[in-house]
């Protein structure tokens, strides 16, 4: 699944589609950046802060779930933080990359469905995520998600280059 970069000059159907296309693009870059890494490299950190590529895959799926399902839709989620343990990112040894990628793509489909069924100006439903604050609009949520993905992909760009010198967009 390779998604071309959403150039500002390419035509898109709507503002919502711009956000969705960026998210599709970043997920495809993420998968490209982890492609070919051994189990060892996937679960090992190349940085003092200690995060590993496989943890990033799980983290981004959870970020998407927290913002759109737990947040915007206001749904109850029994454990909104499965990517975290003792204030650090966490992936159990028995969690496989294949499963985590499948989960990420399923979350992506959920995101698309939610975005396509609401207007960008619609506010989220109150729920635990907002902790009493006024829920954000869908547009603001998507904006946040796009820039959070972008920054993490920036992390993965550098991590992959540190691992084996592989570069590219």
């Amino acid at each position: 699944m390779s998604v071309p970069f959403p150039e500002p000059t390419s035509l898109v159907a709507s503002h919502a589609e711009v956000f969705l296309t960026y998210l599709d693009y970043f997920r495809s870059v993420l998968l490209k950046k982890i492609d070919g890494l051994s189990e060892e490299k996937l679960r090992q950190s190349v940085l003092p802060s200690g995060w590993s590529p496989i943890e990033l895959v799980k983290h981004l799926r959870c970020v998407e779930m927290r913002w759109l399902v737990w947040g915007f839709e206001g749904k109850e989620v029994s454990d909104p933080w499965p990517d975290r343990r003792d204030h650090r990112w966490y992936v159990a040894p028995e969690e496989s990359l294949g499963q985590l990628v499948e989960d990420l793509l399923a979350q992506a489909a959920t995101t698309r469905l939610i975005v396509e069924s609401h207007a960008l100006q619609e506010r989220g439903r109150p729920g635990e995520r907002w902790d009493g604050d006024q829920p954000a609009t869908l547009e603001r949520v998507l904006f946040h998600l796009v820039q959070e993905y972008a920054r993490h992909i920036g992390h993965m760009d550098v991590a992959r280059e540190l691992i084996d010198g592989d570069v590219g967009e």
Binding site: P6, T9, S49, V146, G154
Partner: protein, 178 residues
Amino acid sequence: MSNVWSAGEDPRTYGNPVGEKATYQEYLANYRLTIEMKCSGLDAEQLAERSVPPSTLSLLGLIRHLAQMENHWFQRVLQGRTDPPRLYKREDDPDWDFAGATPDPVVVDDALATWKGEIAKAEEWFDTVKEGDLGREISFDAGTVSTRDVLVHVIEEYARHAGHADLLRECIDGRTGE
């Protein structure tokens, strides 16, 4: 994590901007400040350090690249000012923004002043843009771009480069966060 900025030092705002233009303005302002924070307290040697080898990325190279990027989108594309030469591009070296990032205080001062100059020009122009004009299509190259799509692009480009800056800084002196 260690070495994070204390809350009192963080110059960024986390308001609740109302409307599309205000949202773009807040994200832009915060990312520009984030990059500046990532560079703060470092000398020319550290700013030019290729701290994540084999990459040729450096914080100084990023500043030069971001100056070029601001100039490209805000001046050349959105305002059609294509006469002045591209910043930090050389015919013999398309990656001069990164390649020319040498540990020389003159190069550092030039990069910071150029980047901040481009930011000031971009802000001055954006202040004049009306909320209702964000969807306006502008001719560029063979096609068109909307102001909105350019702004979203600039912000995601800043965000991805902030991700690069995070790790460059972590590998220079261990500082993370922000």
